[in-house]
Symmetry: none
Subunit: 199 residues, 4 copies
DNA sequence: AATGAATGAGAATTCATTCAT
DNA sequence: TATGAATGAATTCTCATTCAT
């Protein structure tokens, strides 16, 4: 009789996640081509062969990582934009983004590298799918607040956020993330934002 | 013979540069491990063997790229900090950085990836060498101006600059670099900066 | 319980045949090493594990195919040589062979390939076991008819038969098997054969 | 300075041929999938890596073998059909074919297997390209002679030739190739052929 | 009896590097 | 100085076979 237990499904999902996590970590630190399936499997505690039972190729592992993350990423933005008060929304956006990054630091490391090196894997197209969304949402937010030059302000805010994250990823513990975050939040407080409106 | 040997030197230097440039471009787009010596040599229009006459290994090519760039990088900062007027210095810093990046876009692409993926090449340590400098200089500048919380302000400015660059590298032609740059300069104009001083 | 176990035997035999047939088809079209147990099991509608319950190895599957076929092959020749009239026997031989091949086309495809590539599987020795038989039987037949040079004539007839089959296997529907067969039968009619006797 | 000597070209061609010959021999005896690049390279006395300098893949080696052979095959038929006397032409055809096969026995072994197992390598299409030619030419020859049913007679002759070759490849030294060949030639002598004409 | 997860050896292919010329 | 033939280790991926359930 075949193994029917629901446990089996659970174990399979666990193994799958183990492989994905190991791959992510290695991709993040050594790059896609710098990480071998051997290493990935070993780190995940499985055999090379088994890794190929779960994924058809190294590239597919990368795609799955990006897929899984996209799902997770969508949720956060939804939460932020549920907040009704525009000014609180800005605060929330900043807070949530930093929390999100702290939680998925490894992912952002890998993702940023891939965005920077568009040809690491032929025929992957993140750029258009991603990123533009956030700017658009921030712009709308600023427009509702009556801020002049909303688009540019949005670009600047988003760039600042990503710049801080970048520096954090560069310098890790040496970077005073909390302090800079607070400063940013202060800069985008209701009081400061109102100064940018038409009156 | 001096004439001949002089020309020879020139040609040698040209070949060296050709190899470095080809490598840089490939490293930037496909990553270090994603680019082969074959490709590098071909792109440079030389044979694999000749490339090895100029550099002992692929890793050495990378090191040379980083070295050459460090030299160039130093110069710019010197120019900026020769300016006596502190407020003009800020403007200059922003302007110069963006110009610098535009000129060496490929380099920054590669460099950022390497900073993000610290284990791409074992035993490379950029992080400490680089980056901290700029923040320190900016902090000093802000202190001289009497700005409160100079260090944090410096971190924020540098993060914003790098964030903008990052977005530019991500989105290239779709990114309104000039517009954002102008906005940033405005935000750090004498007028705005004075508001941040103790009075 | 006898009823149940009887049915069980039937099912077992059916599964066994399903696996053998699937393997045969794949071996015939893609070769022994070009066909995987995975494929064989899938085509047979069973799991890899079950296939290994029936056969100890891929090689054993091949051996079983050859075994089963040898049994079937023996029968035909027996029928042919039961015919008492020598001249009718020739006709029967030709007819039966072609029918046999048409029925087991896939098998012949695989078998011929194996004969041609004697090292596909180490330590298999078909050649001697097979083939010589038919020639010997045909030779005897011709001798009984009083045909001069019976052995050579036998070799030629058998070669012609196998050549036709070969071409049929090569060209399939494009090959006018029936027409060629009829011509061959005519060439080996009583009338023609008598011309080859000593008188 | 690069190696310019014509010798280099010679050596390259020799190495290329060495690899092709080794591959052919292995493909013939063990099949395409049964022969590894490792083995091929070793047999050719070169490293695996070098074999890949000469050919992009194992499949390409096979294609080159077939290509080279097609060129050689064309020549023979040309010679045969240069003969003006139709009856001599038949004799020549038989003689030439057997000589050709004896010379390239290994090749025919491999080629026949590939024809029999059409899916060994996806997307190869020998069948249509090859084989039909010979039949057409033989048919024309017979028509010029005024032989009734020329097409069928041609098919039969060609099948007989290929059948003899097949048996020779099966049984090698045990097969009395010369004797059977002579008998075939006798069967297609001018005298016998004339009996098949309308008069 | 039946499944398919798991393994590990081995296959195809790539690539940094060396070397004869 | 310049070439690219040559190597061998490492890499991606496959597959026969085993095994827990």
């Amino acid at each position: 009789m075949p193994r029917t237990s629901e446990q089996l499904e659970k174990i399979k999902e666990q193994t799958r996640m183990k492989i994905l996590e190991s791959a992510l970590e290695l991709f993040a630190l050594k790059g896609f081509h710098g990480s071998s399936m051997q290493e990935i499997a070993k780190k995940a505690g499985v055999s090379k062969g088994l890794a190929y039972n779960y994924f058809n190729s190294k590239e597919e592992i990368l795609k799955e990582i990006l897929n899984d993350a996209k799902k997770a990423g969508g949720l956060i933005m939804t939460q932020v934009f549920e907040e009704e008060d525009n000014f609180k929304q800005v605060q929330l956006l900043i807070e949530a983004t930093f929390e999100h990054i702290a939680a998925g630091e490894t992912y952002w490391r890998m993702f940023s590298s891939l965005m920077l090196q568009p040809n690491v894997v032929e025929s992957f197209d993140f750029v258009d799918e991603f990123g533009t969304n956030l700017v658009e949402l921030t712009t709308k937010m600023f427009k509702r607040m009556g801020i002049k030059n909303a688009k540019t302000e949005a670009l600047l805010l988003d760039a600042s956020i990503d710049g801080i994250i970048l520096h954090y990823l560069f310098f890790k513990d040496k970077y005073p993330l909390q302090r800079v975050k607070k400063e940013l939040i202060k800069k985008y407080s209701k009081e400061e934002l109102l100064k940018k409106t038409d009156q």
